[in-house]
């Protein structure tokens, strides 16, 4: 029975154009990042520092969230808590309804993707417009992001040109990137003025000051959060950091790790709505904090490291599996290595545990992660949680992938390999009868020759040698 993931894999691998395109894109991202970290020692000390900042914040998460709520309230930011995505959607909808909003302009937000917010609001008569260029493109195409930082990364320039031509027949066809960008910009400018509300994500929440930090390149984040009279920020509860001084180190790693930029074009620090004596900015600011399974991940000491993530996407850019598949094959909001640890925990191992198996554990992800999340170790842990029997039920869907036949085979193997005398006989027999063994080994021999068992195993050769020496 093919899983949804498996169907996605087969489809992606058969798309030759996509594979070539992804390889070039990933190569360029890896090169750009590499070029900005000439000093390995500096990089490593920064990574350690950023890991400590994030780990420290998580270790004090309940207190920091409480402090954040208090400081935000003092600043005039209205804080809302949502345990589920349904609750978060309802909260956003209620706020919009109260203000009679019909048009919402959005900055980039993966949490809003997690919520399925656009779909939810549009079903209730509110138009949502994505203003990040990549998000704008995939919204036009009716697709989902294939990457958490560059959502339209899977699309070639020509595909985008054709899409624009189809959706905006009044604009002359062009595949010039600058012209396409200018066309999108003109459309978006008008929308920023019309929209009655703006929605954004958040990169860092500063508990000490009640500040929402937003990292972006296009200015659309600033437009979305300052032009409309109402701003709603949605984000996960894990994004909090203790103090303002924690932000610069994180900010020095985030863009370099993500897109190979020293710094992004824009960095916004939002500390409240427009004050009576101010001329611009929204008159109301709301912050919706989403749990959606995060506190369950938080409860496990080891798995908590999942929540350190600052969503730079470096693990994705360096993943040889993602490079072959692209993001859509994963069938999840967050693709790649971070998705393969986060999504199974969020959605349940019974449903998405397969993602933890879709890794060679090569470690390329952990090597570049700016907050040193031990992704291979967590993947291994989730593989265990997927098949373990003596569960504590702390991880969602625990034991959901255990199959009696597989467990039986591993037990048989363990019995053999933990009894040297038996093992010796088994290895000896395998060598003696090697010509009787099949040369077709299922999927292995579809692209490879079967490995050949040696005429005599090493242990036997050594015993013979020792006898000769005696």
């Amino acid at each position: 029975m093919a899983s949804e993931f498996h169907r996605g894999v087969v489809k992606a691998l058969h798309d030759g154009a996509l594979r070539g395109h992804l390889r070039r894109a990933m190569d360029s991202l890896m090169e750009k990042r590499q070029a900005l970290f000439p000093d390995v020692d500096e990089l490593e000390s920064l990574r350690r520092r950023c890991m400590q900042i994030r780990a420290h914040a998580l270790a004090n998460l309940p207190d920091l969230l409480e402090q954040l709520e208090q400081r935000c309230s003092e600043n005039g930011i209205q804080v809302h808590w949502a345990e589920t995505t349904e609750q978060a959607n309802d909260l956003v909808y209620e706020i919009l309804q109260r203000h009679g909003v019909k048009q919402l302009v959005k900055g980039k937000s993966m949490v809003s993707e997690e919520m399925g917010l656009n779909h939810y609001l549009e079903a209730r008569g509110i138009e949502c417009l994505e203003s990040d260029l990549g998000e704008f493109i995939i919204q036009l195409a009716g697709e989902t992001p294939s990457h958490i930082v560059m959502p339209a990364l899977h699309k070639s320039k020509q595909e985008i040109a054709e899409l624009f031509h189809e959706k905006f027949p009044d604009i002359p066809y062009t595949d010039d990137v600058d012209e396409l960008t200018a066309a999108a910009r003109a459309i978006l400018r008008e929308k920023f003025e019309q929209a009655e509300a703006g929605l954004s994500g958040v990169n860092f929440l500063v508990a000490e000051t009640g500040t929402l930090c937003l990292v972006e390149n296009e200015g659309n984040g600033r437009m979305s959060t300052t032009v409309p009279p109402l701003h709603i920020a949605v984000t996960g509860i894990e994004k909090v950091v203790e103090k303002l001084a924690d932000v610069p180190p994180l900010l020095s790693l985030l863009p370099r790790s993500a897109t190979g930029q020293r710094i992004t074009t824009y960095f916004n620090m939002i500390s409240g709505p427009r004050k009576p004596d101010e001329k611009d900015g929204p008159t109301e600011v709301h912050l919706v904090l989403l749990d959606n399974g995060r506190s369950r991940i938080y409860a496990d000491e080891e798995l908590q490291a999942t929540l350190r993530c600052i969503r730079c996407g470096a693990c994705i850019n360096h993943c040889p599996v993602y490079t072959r598949l692209g993001g859509h094959a994963y069938g999840t909001v967050y693709p790649g290595p971070i998705g393969s640890i986060l999504e199974p925990q969020k959605e349940g191992l019974d449903r998405l545990g397969e993602l933890a198996e879709a890794s060679t554990l090569c470690g390329a992800c952990a090597e570049v992660c700016p907050v040193r999340i031990p992704i291979p170790q967590l993947l291994n842990r989730l593989r265990w949680e997927s098949v373990r029997q003596d569960g504590d039920d702390e991880t969602k869907g625990q034991g959901g992938r255990r199959k009696a036949t597989q467990a039986g085979l591993w037990q048989a193997w363990a019995s053999l390999a933990s009894h040297p005398a038996l093992y010796r006989i088994a290895v000896g027999s395998a060598s003696r009868f090697r010509r009787l063994l099949p040369q077709q080994l299922g999927p292995w021999t579809r692209v490879r020759k079967a490995p050949q068992i040696a005429e005599k195993p090493l242990r036997q050769l050594i015993e013979q040698e020792d006898k000769r020496d005696e």
Binding site: P320, T360, A414, A417, P451
Partner: protein, 255 residues
């Protein structure tokens, strides 16, 4: 670079793949160590490090097998393993696997003494090699576990650099995984196939006559694919594959 005082003897932990499929690698690895004047002990009761079960999520079964290995190394000798991946299992995962059990301190003591073979040759023995072979273009595929888990990518390159007749050629995406990943190759065969296709193409393009690696898992994957391509598509001769221990021994033994 870590360095240790030169020990009198070492344990040689050959790994299950070497035992069953590549015994000549084990003999070569041991011969290299013996030539350096070391007493090499091959514990006859060794089976498997337990990694396959560990990475498949079957920790209890992995522990059962790993426990049997812990008892093999009574003396305080370094444990040398001709595989970055099995060495990584013993060095970095045994401590966690036995945490909270009565074998934890034993696991820590074993882990502390584990060396990947090429790193042991360069960092501890400071081996000096004299190349007796003909000119050859060689590509090195450093396994991901040798590179990232054991931090020993330097060793393979340093050893090959000592061989005058060897021209080390560089394949594109050299640090990228070959797609083996143990059970990954079976559980996600399509992705694994795509990865090894790309890897073999890179190695061909680099003009390598021979591909060497520190891990038999990678070699089984890369070598198996190159062999298959020869038959299936009658592609021009691709590179041969060989474990680096066997290659070093052949190039320097002078027969």
């Amino acid at each position: 670079m870590p360095s240790e005082t030169r020990p009198e003897g070492v344990y040689f932990y050959a790994t299950c793949l070497v035992d069953l499929f590549y015994p000549q690698v084990g003999l070569a690895g041991m011969a290299l160590l013996k030539r350096e004047g070391l007493k090499v002990i091959f514990p006859g009761d060794q089976t498997c490090c337990g990694q396959p079960a560990y990475n498949a999520g079957y920790r209890e079964q992995a522990r059962q097998v790993a426990a049997a290995q812990l008892d093999l190394f009574a003396k305080d000798h370094p444990i040398v393993v001709p595989s970055g991946s099995c060495a990584g299992m013993m060095k970095h995962h045994y401590p966690a696997l036995f945490a909270g059990t009565e074998r934890h301190s034993q696991a820590l003591a074993v882990a502390d003494r584990v060396w990947e073979l090429t790193a042991f040759l360069t960092d501890v023995l400071q081996i000096e090699l004299q190349d007796l072979g003909d000119p050859l273009k060689v590509a090195l595929h450093t396994s991901c576990s040798t590179r990232r888990e054991m931090g020993a990518a330097h060793a393979g390159e340093a050893l090959l650099a000592q061989l005058d007749g060897v021209e080390l050629v560089q394949q594109d995406h050299k640090t990228e995984c070959c797609g083996f990943g143990g059970t990954f190759a079976v559980k996600q065969p399509e992705i694994s196939a795509a990865m090894v296709e790309d890897k073999t193409r890179s190695l061909r393009l680099a003009g390598a006559e021979l591909v060497v690696s520190q891990d038999c898992g990678c070699l089984m994957n890369i070598g198996g694919a190159l062999e298959f391509q020869k038959e299936d598509r009658s592609q021009a001769e691709g590179p041969a594959t060989q474990h680096i221990a066997e290659f070093l021994w052949e190039r320097t033994r002078g027969q």
